[in-house]
């Protein structure tokens, strides 16, 4: 990537949830939702984070935002370690890092008007006078494609796509340098999804935003991302520039994931690499390579030794004993 400082750098991020049997009981088991994830995002770059449900991709987004407290690891925002900040310090840094949620229904307070929702971040940080705040809200409405007269409407009076525009306007209000999108278009219909993707790309070009784009739809991720990371059971198994990942996937899980995506034309119907069985439980992940239980090419080594994520000079990193094309740096 470019020599400039990354907007966001994540090192060894871990999030374990304890399953408590009772009120005062000690945690009996740990759900290893995220188990050592590292990546960085350059200014103006979109990193797509894909994987199946339960792989921990949404938890990564929330832990980066400290909406859930990371168990271990370091999150650096514009050169500053934010993992150690106290509550007040963290609130101050939220101006630089914002979020768009998946569900445009539950992520907007149903009792607040659209205008109040977008104005709230400005109130929180005391940005401008009341009049200036209203002007800024009007400008944001216009920018995301909402009519100014809709400011007094409540969320239920908007369609799903319009609500997601509201969520985007709220995220933009503070002028962040990076936005975490937690499945921001997954709940939308295809035609509306296209509107929101276009809007997000336009805003990125206009404001030089970086995105961490968490999604399960590989078509969408391929379209919007510059680089893509694939997660499986709490770990990144492959991370690479978009073209490399989609055209020459190296990790067998990435291959299977790509081949499972439905074709775009009936004449392309093909035999796919169908994975056997389900994803193992993150409470008790398999030893060695976490994918070996479903991997079509697993060898005995995979059951014992966990493969490290190794990058080749082009920045294509793979965590696979058989497919990594790099030696440890």
């Amino acid at each position: 990537m470019s020599a400039s400082q990354p907007v966001l750098a994540v090192e060894g991020l871990v999030k374990h949830y304890g399953i408590r049997p009772g009120l005062f009981g000690r945690a009996r088991a740990q759900v290893r939702a995220v188990d050592g994830v590292s990546f960085s995002i350059a200014p103006g770059e979109t990193l797509g984070l894909v994987g199946e449900s339960g792989c921990g991709k949404s938890t990564v987004g929330k832990a980066v935002l400290r909406l859930v407290e990371p168990t271990a690891g370091r999150v650096t925002l514009e050169g500053e370690d934010i993992t150690a900040l106290n509550r007040a310090g963290m609130i101050a840094r939220r101006r630089r890092m914002q979020v768009i949620f998946q569900d445009p229904y539950s992520s907007l307070n149903p009792r607040m008007t659209a205008g109040d929702i977008v104005q709230e971040p400005l109130i929180n940080f005391g940005i401008g006078s009341a009049g200036e705040q209203r002007e800024r809200v009007a400008a944001l409405f216009a920018r995301v494609g909402l009519r100014p007269d809709q400011r007094s409407n409540y969320p239920h009076e908007f369609s799903g796509g319009q609500r997601q525009r509201l969520g985007i306007a709220r995220a933009l209000a503070l002028g962040p340098s990076i936005i975490i999108g937690d499945e921001p278009v997954s709940a939308l219909d295809v035609s509306v999804q296209a509107q929101v993707i276009n809007l997000m790309m336009d805003l990125q070009d206009e404001f030089g935003l970086s995105y961490l784009f968490v999604a399960h739809d590989l078509g969408v991720v391929e379209h919007i991302s510059h680089r893509v990371a694939v997660m499986y059971l709490g770990k990144i198994v492959e991370i690479a520039p978009r073209a490399a990942l989609f055209e020459e996937p190296r990790h067998p899980y990435t291959e299977a994931l790509l081949s499972a995506v439905p074709v775009s034309h009936p004449r392309q119907r093909r035999k796919r690499v169908t994975l056997k069985g389900d994803v193992p439980s993150p409470v008790n992940p398999p030893p060695g390579c976490r994918f070996h239980t479903r991997c079509p090419i697993a060898v005995p080594l995979c059951r014992e030794v966990e493969p490290p994520l190794l990058a080749d000079p082009s920045g294509h990193a793979t965590a696979c004993h058989l497919r990594s094309q790099a030696s440890p740096a």
């Binding site: 035609s191 296209a194 276009n198 969408v220 499972a260 439905p262 074709v263 119907r269």
Partner: protein
């Protein structure tokens, strides 16, 4: 084309009573035919009426508001719209089965899955309990659930999402139905599990010869599965044809828009603007007088805004309801 269809809809109209005034029409003048062993995909976005079409066929519309307001639902020539409730109970699960998007809510959480499948068999075929449990085991095996003997005695919450959907399919197919209605069966599932389920449906269809109506919003699933495709918009059928006809030459601007709006894997159009369809689907009680799609259509003329376009043949089995499609007939 001489073979009698297993299922045919003729001018189906599904209505919902509202507090005041005329009922809103959720499905309007919908006709379709389904032949043995065929897969028909009904495509459309939320609120287009595709799920209600399936519920109308099974007469499972939410009471007391929903009802079939006109048209016929012909199962091998017999009109289900006129059947009694008792007759419908015999048909559901036996002649026509349905699987839903969220298998967790469709399975009873306090009964073992074996028992749930066996009871379906018992109700319809009147076999003794041992035979019914035997059939349940056989069905679990058929939908390729590992360790079926153990799973038979487990409860729905002990299964993963993909496994539950397999159980739903096992239950739906337990009485060898001639028609399977699948309403977004893989939408809640991950792609790798979706691929497994789609493969399974295809294989079982080949084995049993059941006809499938697959309701989905995902054109990728359509491309994978469909023999024929029916595109719905705002309660109307706007286009119908074989899967090749639809994908090679989509005729209705809505179908074209849907195809261009979806980012395709490997399309090589990285970060280009996606084709958006401006605006949103109109609410049921606020539909424009002419073509429902006219307010969002780039090609709309005054005629489109005033007059509803009829379905017009475009050669082969392909037809579309658009003044602009098929040009010369208009």
């Amino acid at each position: 084309m001489t073979e009698q269809p297993i299922l045919a809809l003729e001018g189906l109209r599904t209505e919902f009573a509202t507090g005041q005034g005329a009922p809103v029409v959720a499905v309007n003048d919908l006709s379709l035919t389904l032949k043995r062993g065929e897969t028909l995909c009904i495509v459309g976005e939320s609120g287009c009426g595709k799920s209600l079409t399936a519920l109308s066929i099974l007469r499972l519309l939410p009471r007391p508001y929903g009802r079939i307001g006109g048209g016929r639902v012909l199962l091998e020539g017999r009109d289900l719209a006129q059947a009694t409730d008792a007759e419908m109970r015999q048909i559901r699960g036996r002649a026509i089965s349905m699987i839903f998007q969220e298998p967790m809510t469709s399975l009873n959480p306090v009964l073992t899955i074996g028992r749930q499948i066996a009871e379906t068999v018992m109700v319809h075929e009147g076999l003794d309990w041992t035979a019914c449990m035997g059939r349940a085991l056989e069905m679990l095996r058929q939908v390729r659930i590992p360790e079926p003997e153990r799973r038979l005695h487990e409860y729905p919450h002990q299964l993963s999402g993909g496994m539950r959907q397999r159980v739903m399919i096992a239950m739906a197919l337990a009485c060898r139905p001639r028609v399977l209605l699948a309403d977004e069966p893989t939408t809640a599932l991950d792609v790798t599990i979706q691929a497994q389920i789609l493969d399974l449906v295809r294989d079982l269809q080949a084995e049993t010869g059941a006809a499938v109506i697959l309701i989905t919003h995902d054109l990728g699933v359509v491309a994978e599965m469909a023999d024929r495709v029916l595109v719905m918009y705002a309660g109307h059928k706007v286009e119908e044809g074989s899967v090749e006809e639809i994908f090679d030459a989509p005729a209705h601007p809505y179908t074209q828009g849907l195809m261009q709006a979806m980012p395709h894997l490997g399309s090589g159009e990285h970060r280009s603007r996606l084709n958006e369809i401006a605006g949103v689907v109109p609410a049921l009680n606020a539909r424009p007088p002419g073509c429902s799609f006219a307010p969002r259509c780039g090609l709309a003329t005054d005629r489109c805004r005033q007059e509803m376009p009829p379905l017009t043949g475009l050669g082969g089995t392909h037809m579309a309801a658009c003044w602009a499609a098929g040009g010369s007939q208009a």
